[in-house]
């Protein structure tokens, strides 16, 4: 026993746990750096970026209104491809959101302390992605003023929705997901809004932050309930986030269409969602980290871990793709076999191979540590994953639909300019909202990052002769 203890000590000494915030920064440094982003004048790049993204968002909004005033005929959808870019974009954006909830909920339950540096931004990204997602089901009905028919409320026709429909489950799943994400995000924001309040120079700013922070005082009798609420929200968000993309996948899996009708869909969709979401977190946070000099808070260790998650979830997605081939072959259903041969060798072969290359091949670069710590390669792989996940949904929805059971009903699908610019417009809306978020709210959870500093531990002893003794005491 004594020998193994001794070897343990040497191992711990040789491989100390890396610090989560680099360069031994103080708590005041964290407040100054994060809150300073909001308090200082907006940098020039921010104005340039938001001018561009807001213009894109504006044109996207124009496309949405053009659709509403003209009708869904302005989209390229037609029988047999009745669901095309609209549902592709919806599932794409919903999937993006999943990484934020994974970071805030599942990693909290797993006590992954590194999450504190990125959870705020990732949760904000979740909200904005779900907002973009929600646009598509709302506008695809054409007559948006009738959208209230999906809600189970009494109406003059005395018609009630079918609660056994996956589309109905989707309405509840996505709206619950959005609401719970907002509550979770705002709860975590309250202590940081209190920090902003106490730092505010002007009376107006102070009053606004006071209202927003509910007059939070940071007493332990408050933290006690706060911690319980946070824990429970994490606990209920975990099954929620897994259920949302499962429910989205039920929209397809419960149908009889070859290429959709598979039991692998729920886990496969969830893994893909987390994969795509982590890619989007990296896409947004790598530039934000450089522009706001957050290298010591959002460190290379964080990027490294996220790249490993990208590799892991990307490999699950790759497994699902290959398993679909196997089931198509082994299931001996000629329609299913045709669907998969057509997927990879039919007229849309380029979409399927882009999907496979971006989602399965490119993340394999992340096996190499040097690549995980290279800005350009990480960014390239995350952009590949963003594109690949959009292609995945396009492949699943459009390719499965464009070859109907009877060849007489076969038809190609081509998007119109409205399709393209509505999607590009939602990217503009998404990035605009994110830019507004980093401008007006603390983008890193200050109180949570402070709580993972070494000196936040009540049993911490400052380094020095006494500190070394304390470390040895813990080892024995």
């Amino acid at each position: 026993m004594a020998e193994s203890d001794a070897s343990m000590t040497t191992f711990v000494e040789r491989m100390p746990r890396p610090p989560l915030v680099w360069n031994n920064h103080s708590m005041a440094w964290i407040s100054d750096r994060i809150a300073g982003i909001v308090e200082n004048k907006a940098p020039r790049w921010w104005w340039v970026s938001i001018a561009i993204t807001a213009s894109v968002a504006g044109f996207g909004t124009f496309c949405i209104f053009y659709l509403l005033f003209t009708g869904v005929g302005v989209w390229g959808n037609n029988i047999p491809v009745g669901w095309a870019w609209g549902i592709t974009n919806f599932v794409f954006w919903i999937g993006i959101g999943h990484a934020g909830t994974l970071i805030s909920a599942i990693l909290h339950l797993c006590r992954q302390k590194w999450r504190t540096s990125i959870n705020r931004a990732a949760e904000a990204m979740t909200l904005f992605a779900v907002m973009c997602a929600g646009i598509f089901p709302a506008i695809h009905v054409g007559r948006i003023w009738m959208i209230w028919f999906v809600a189970p409320v009494p109406n003059p026709n005395w018609i009630w929705p079918n609660f056994r429909s996956p589309l109905m489950w989707d309405v509840f799943a996505v709206s619950t997901y959005f609401t719970v994400s907002v509550l979770f995000w705002y709860l975590g924001l309250v202590p940081d809004l209190a920090t902003m309040r106490d730092r505010a120079k002007g009376n107006v700013a102070r009053a606004v932050y006071w209202v927003l922070s509910f007059g939070w005082r940071g007493g332990n009798r408050q933290w006690r309930h706060f911690d319980m609420a946070y824990l429970v929200l994490a606990g209920i968000s975990t099954p929620l986030v897994l259920s949302v993309h499962s429910t989205v996948s039920f929209d397809f899996a419960t149908s009889v269409l070859p290429g959709w009708h598979t039991t692998i869909f729920p886990p496969y969709f969830v893994a893909g969602a987390i994969f795509g979401g982590f890619a989007m977190v990296l896409t947004l946070m790598l530039p934000a980290r450089s522009l706001y000099k957050l290298h010591d808070v959002f460190t290379w260790d964080h990027i490294d871990v996220m790249c490993k998650l990208l590799l892991f979830t990307g490999s699950i997605v790759g497994y699902a793709y290959v398993m679909e081939w196997f089931v198509a072959f082994y299931g001996a259903n000629p329609f299913e076999r045709f669907a998969f041969l057509n997927r990879y060798f039919g007229p849309y072969w380029w979409a399927s191979w882009s999907m496979f290359g971006c989602n399965v091949i490119m993340p394999q670069l992340m096996w190499v540590r040097a690549f995980r710590r290279n800005w350009a390669i990480v960014y390239f792989v995350s952009m590949c994953a963003n594109a690949g996940m959009w292609f995945e949904r396009f492949v699943i929805f459009v390719i499965s639909l464009h070859r109907d059971f009877l060849p007489s009903a076969w038809r190609m699908y081509y998007p119109t300019w409205v399709d393209v610019f509505t999607f590009v417009g939602t990217i503009g809306i998404f990035v605009t909202l994110f830019l507004l978020f980093i401008r007006f709210l603390p983008m890193v959870a200050m109180s949570e990052v402070k709580s993972v500093l070494p000196e936040a531990d009540p049993h911490y002893h400052p380094p020095g002769p006494a500190g070394e003794e304390a470390v040895k005491e813990v080892q024995v």
């Binding site: 407040s31 189970p152 056994r164 979770f184 209190a194 005082r217 332990n220 429970v232 009540p458």
Partner: protein, 186 residues
């Protein structure tokens, strides 16, 4: 200190501590001294502080359970009343009965989560008596640093063991710095 403020009733005595560790050890001593109306204030939740203060687990979890159960019940009524009585639909050749329940579960699940989340969010503020537009602690200017990097221990004057002189001396004795008397608002 002006004469006017001296006439105000005391709200509490506040002491600052240099670190989370010092605050933790001080909290253990205040707990052992038998105070009841006191609190520690910190920029983040200090791990294990509930034990140091002699507080149990938050009861919020039980309230959230009730909220979740209410959500489950709401969903069940929302689904079964229209589907069974108001507008009975036969889907996939299946009427609504005990054996065709499973497709109703997803919505029950979602509303259980939704109601729990609302209960958790509003519960934490109701249990903390928030929102509150002012609090006597904010009369003490250095208290602003509590959301940055400062650690405070507050013993309120409503505590039966409180005395302006004795409590100050006690807090100084356990290592509190800048021990100050805070006055109530009126």
């Amino acid at each position: 200190m002006s004469a006017a403020s001296l006439s105000k009733p005391a709200f509490a005595v506040i002491a600052e501590f240099p670190s989370a560790g010092a605050l933790y050890e001080a909290a253990e001593k205040v707990r052992d001294a038998g105070f009841r109306f006191w609190d520690v204030h910190s920029p983040f939740e200090i791990h294990g502080m509930n034990k140091a203060m002699g507080l149990g687990k938050s009861t919020l979890g039980y309230i959230i359970f009730c909220g979740g159960f209410l959500g489950f019940t709401t969903a069940a009524l929302l689904e079964f009343i229209p589907s069974s009585y108001l507008f009975p639909l036969i889907v996939h050749g299946k009427p609504v009965n005990f054996y065709t329940n499973p497709p109703f579960f997803p919505i029950m699940f979602e509303l259980t989560i939704l109601f729990s989340a609302f209960t958790a969010f509003f519960g934490v503020f109701i249990m903390n008596r928030l929102p509150r537009m002012h609090h006597p602690l904010f009369n003490y200017e250095p208290f602003k640093r509590v959301t940055n990097d400062a650690f405070f221990l507050v013993i309120e004057s409503v505590d039966p063991k409180f005395s302006e002189i004795g409590t100050r001396e006690f807090l100084e004795g356990i290592g509190g710095k800048e021990v100050t008397l805070i006055y109530a608002n009126d």
